[in-house]
Subunit: 121 residues, 2 copies
C-alpha cells in the first residue's frame, strides 16, 4: 500500500471474515470496499444511496423483492437507492463494493451483522 | 443490460476504439466507465476530482511527475485530484474507471483526444 497500488488478490487473501467489508481506497466521498460473502445476509435498503456490487470471484445472488439477480465473476450490478435487497452466496464469493463513505452494510435493517465503521486493509 | 447486469468481458468485447471511455453504470453522481488503452495518452490533471483506475486486463503505467505507477491485472490506483498524470500502455489494456459523471478524459489539457460526452454501452 506504500505506493498506493491496491492488488485485489493480495487484499482478499488477508480477509478472513465473511460479511465484514474492508476499505481499500477512497475516491472523493466514495469508498471502495472489499468483502467476502458466504451464506445469506439480511434484507435491507439504503434510502440515501445507490450501491455497486462487482463480483471478483465466485457467484453472488442479489435477491430483490421481484426477482433474483445472479452475478458471476466479472459481473457488476447497481442496487438503486431505496430498493430492498438481500445478498446470498452459496459458496464463498469475493465482492468489490462502491458506495459513499459511511454507508452501513445493513442499511435500514440494523442488527448484529452491522459493521458501522469498517477498517482499512 | 435489460436485467441491469454488466459483464465486463462482454462490454469490453464491444469496444473497438482506444482511449474512448464508455459508460456502463451510474452510482449516484459517479459513472463507471470502461476504456481500452494502448500507447501513450496526454499529461493532464483533474483539479476537481480523484480518479480511480482498475486494470481488468493487461498492464498500465500511470506516469506521475515524480514516479511511475505500474498496474497489472487486478490492481487499482487512485490518482488524487490535482495530480498530473499520463497513462501509458505498451500493449492493449482494459481499464475500469470510477469518477464523477462529467469528468473529461483529458482533464485540463483538452485537445483532440478529448471525449467530452462518452456514450453508454
Amino acid at each position: 500500500m506504500e505506493n498506493g497500488v491496491v492488488n485485489l488478490t493480495d487484499k482478499f487473501s488477508r480477509i478472513n471474515e465473511h460479511w465484514s467489508p474492508r476499505i481499500v481506497a477512497a475516491v472523493n466521498n466514495f469508498h471502495i470496499k472489499l468483502v467476502k460473502l458466504q451464506g445469506e445476509f439480511v434484507w435491507h435498503k439504503h434510502d440515501e444511496t445507490d450501491e455497486m456490487f462487482f463480483v471478483s470471484k465466485g457467484q453472488l445472488t442479489i435477491r430483490l423483492r421481484e426477482r433474483d439477480v445472479v452475478l458471476g465473476e466479472g459481473d457488476l450490478f447497481v442496487v438503486p437507492r431505496g430498493v430492498e435487497h438481500c445478498p446470498v452466496a452459496e459458496g464463498e464469493c469475493e465482492v468489490l463494493l462502491i458506495e459513499p463513505a459511511g454507508t452501513v452494510n445493513t442499511g435500514d435493517a440494523g442488527g448484529d451483522r452491522t459493521v458501522a465503521d469498517p477498517s482499512w486493509i
